[in-house]
Each structure stands twice: as C-alpha cells, then as structure tokens.
C-alpha cells in the first residue's frame, strides 16, 4: 500500500499535477523528514531551517531527487527517503557550520597542539579526559603542558573559529550505547557513562593494542563490534541487520570476537615482553 502510494505520488510529481502531489507527499512523509532533521538539530529555528532546506532540495529541478527513486526496486521508498534526507541534513549542516576542515592556523601547529585542538575545542573533552586520550600518542605529556598547549591553540584561533568548533560539537547528538542490549526502552537519550580514572588509565594502556587487534579481525567481525559498541545498535537490531538468527546468536558471536581481541592483545603484550 505504502509503495503504491509513493509510486503514485512520484508519478504525479512529474506531471502537471505536481502541486497537489507535493502536498500529498508532505502529508505522508513530512513527519519522517522532521524526525530525521531532529536527529541533527534540536533547537526550534535550526530545525525549521533544516526542514525547509531539505524540502527545497527535494523540490529542486522538478523533484529530480525524488523522481530518481525506482518504484519496485530493492529498497522501500520510506527507507530510501530516510537516507536521502539524512544526507541532505548533513549538507545543510556543512553549509551552516562549514565543512569539517582543520583551520589553517591549526594545521600549521605542532602535532600535539593539533591533537589538543581536536580534543578540547572540537570534541569538548575535559582537560583530564584529553590528557588520558593523548597520553598514548604523547607519552611525556603532563597536565601543565596540556594547559600550555590549550593556551597556544586558543591564541591561534579567532573567536569565530572557536565558536565554529563549538557549534559543530553542539550539533552532533549523542549516541545511545548500552552493552547489554536495549537502551531505548528505558531512556530516550542515554549517554554512555563517564569512565572512571582507573578505567581510562587501563584503556590508555590497551588502546594501541586494541587498535591493532581490531585491524586483525575479519571484516564481518569488525562490523559486528562496530555496530554494537560504536554505533550502539541493540542485539536485536544487529541480528536483524546482519541477518543473524536472533539476539542470542549476536551475543554469542560478540563474546567470541571479544575473546579473540583479548587473546590477540595478550599475545602482543607477551610478544613485546619477550623481545
């Protein structure tokens, strides 16, 4: 039903009846567009602007984008539309806040200062978090040096650049992550818990080894780990996406991969100790 309705709308968008067809399209799909927009923006004005930007782009060149959808093809129209709107929202975001490029003043600085810029100004990490994050790459770094680096970076940035870096950060909404499975049943916006100082320290020691271990996984294994722990999909969502039998299968496979990672990291540590 949904597909035939969409096909009908798309057909009429290409005809002289495009105005009522566009109204019908908005009636049916504007909530979906709004939902996607709200993934990028939460404040009222930017939401409205982004929504209109998306609609304008969909209208452009006689609805060229919409008419490029092939009814009867592999994808459902609503799924395809979500992807299209998602990408248009990204375009809007880049247009509004600038493409994510390193400022020239920062690119000229030392690697450490560039890393400090990314941690403090772009990612919004605290100085303690930044120190933990940067220690594996800069083992001699102290808190005092970090503070000095922050000052160097701050003096190299204009107010506008500082604002832009912060604005980019403010518009990226947090992922919901729960390693046990179903985060959204309890909270609509669950931010993962802040790491304790100890766990961050342990993490720093393991980071390099883990990075390497991940590279040694097969691609399906790496995809599974990323879907679960980077993207925060639930066991059920992961099972459904990867075509696995059920959540238990994902859980079992995930444990196997984690064990494999653990073993690889232990082996690499032992290997280093021997040499």
């Amino acid at each position: 039903m949904e597909e035939s309705q969409a096909a009908g709308i798309l057909e009429r968008l290409a005809s002289k009846e495009f105005e009522p067809a566009w109204s019908e399209f908005l009636g049916a799909y504007s909530p979906l567009i709004l939902q996607t927009v709200k993934h990028f923006e939460r404040d009222h004005d930017p939401v409205a602007d982004c929504f209109l930007f998306v609609c304008e782009k969909l209208c452009e060149k006689n609805f060229r984008r919409l008419r490029s959808f092939k009814p009867g093809g592999a994808a459902r129209f609503s799924t395809w539309l979500r992807v299209v709107v998602h990408n248009l929202c990204r375009d809007w975001h880049r247009q509004e806040y600038g493409r994510h490029r390193v400022f020239k003043s920062i690119a000229r600085m030392e690697t450490l200062d560039q890393d400090i810029f990314r941690c403090i100004f772009e990612q919004g990490l605290t100085q303690d978090e930044s120190l933990s994050f940067l220690l594996p790459r800069h083992p001699q770094l102290t808190l005092a040096e970090l503070e000095a680096g922050v000052e160097r970076v701050r003096s190299a940035l204009t107010e506008r650049q500082t604002w832009l870096a912060g604005a980019r950060r403010r518009t990226s909404l947090p992922l919901e992550i729960d390693p046990e499975g179903d985060p959204r049943e309890s909270a609509p916006e669950l931010v993962d818990p802040a790491p304790s100082a100890e766990s961050v320290l342990v993490m720093n020691e393991q980071r390099g080894a883990l990075e390497q271990a991940l590279r040694h996984l097969s691609k399906p294994e790496r995809l599974l780990i990323k879907l679960r722990f980077e993207r925060g999909l639930t066991l059920q969502e992961t099972a459904s996406l990867l075509g696995l039998k059920d959540a238990q299968t994902v859980d079992r496979r995930q444990r196997e991969v984690i064990e494999k990672l653990r073993k690889f990291m232990a082996d690499s540590t032992t290997g280093r100790g021997k040499t």
Binding site: F18, P31, L34, L52, C55, A74, T79, Q123, K219, F229
Partner: protein
Amino acid sequence: MDKNNLIQFFKFRMTKFDQRPWGCLDESQIAAYADHQYAGREKERMEAHLADCDDCLDQVTFVVRSRNSELQESVPDALLLRAKRLAKAKPEGSTVWVWGKIAAATAVACLAVVTVISLRQSTTVTPVTPIQNPVIRPAQTPTQAVPAARVQRHPAIRGSQKSVFAPTVVSSLGGNGTLAGGIEIRWQPVSGAMDYEVMVLTPEGDQVWKKRTTEASIQLPRAVSLKAGQKYFVTIRAYLTEGKSVQSAPMAFTVGNQ
C-alpha cells in the same frame, strides 16, 4: 578487556565523515541493505565495505535506529505551509529544458562570435577585473558616529553560501562621552524579506539578545547590558516570502569603555 572498554575506545576514537573512500554505497544500496534485500556475495561485499567506511555505516545505522522509533510528531502547520509553497510557481520540466537548451545554444553562439572577432582583430585582451564584493557604506547616522562600539568586518562562515548581506553596528556618544543613542544595528534590506530576526551572540555562541523586526535597522534596548571591552557578534536572518530564509555574515563588534 570487556564491553565497556570497547565502548570507551570507540567513544574516544574520532570518526571522520567528510572523507568518503572510493566505492561508497549509493543511497539506493544503503536503503536496500537496510531493508535486507541483499544476500550471498553481494551482501558480503556490502558488509566488507561497511566494516571500514564510517560514512556508509553511519547512514545504515541511522536508518535502522530511526525507523524503529515511532513518528510521534507532526510538522507544525506554519512550517508545513511554507514547505508546500516551495513547489508553487515551478516551471514545468519541459519548459525548463527548452529554455536551458536555448540559453546554452546562445552562449555557444556568442562565444563563437567573440572568438572569431578577437582572432580577426588580433587585439590584446585586457584582463577582466573580477567583480568586487560590495563594500558596506559607512553608516549614515543622524548623530556623530564614534568608536564607542568598534566595528569590524568578519569573514563569512566557511562553506556557507547564504551570506548575502551584512549588518552594520552604529553607536553614538552624548556630550559627556556616554552612549547617548545606544547601539543601533542596520543592514541593507533584502529583496522579498517579510521580516528579520536579529541576534546578538557572545563569541561562545550564547545568545545575548534576539528580536524580530520588519525594518532594516533596530535599536538595542538599554536593558541589554553588554560588557565593555568584550566582543560580540550580530547575525541577521531574513525570512523571505517564498518560505526561505537567508542569514547575514556575522559582524563582530566590541563595546568600548563608556
């Protein structure tokens, strides 16, 4: 090493969405994959790509998660009306193509004529001066414009193509050196604008003051306290009749000591 370690690892790992590698999936492929339409080697090929491409993986996971959540909100009527108007007065496709072809043909003909003439006359070609950006005229104030509020031009937002006009900040001093007329913000009227939204922001992006007006200038109320010596930004958004809006380039100004 456990699940929480992995979550923390990925949290601190910085993904880059602007760098799309070769062979990325197009929108139809992303949607079809999310709809479980691939199987066998094709599916394996997709998943091999997704394992290493943050950009495509971001799109797939967004689709999976967003379609699982219900569409609760309807679009506000006013916004929907503006969206509906976007399709109005659109020329028919065939007409556009015809005019497009005519324009292209005319351009080619003109180019040919110019080339022929220039070859025959063998004259030296003077360099074409690029069109300069319009210069903002100094604000014409009924009272004396003074540097109580130092005004600076500021570069437009990187990547933005919307900054078609720029505000000007004007202040005036009284006889005793205080801000007599307060601070006034002016801008060139934008064609087709219904009204303007004026915002004063701190360098951190925090809003100090916001107001909508139909005029092309506005007086900052005295109740708005701006700190002497601190820099602020003014941006103006013009709302146009056809449902669009354009935003000005941000203008920085500093309030001097009164």
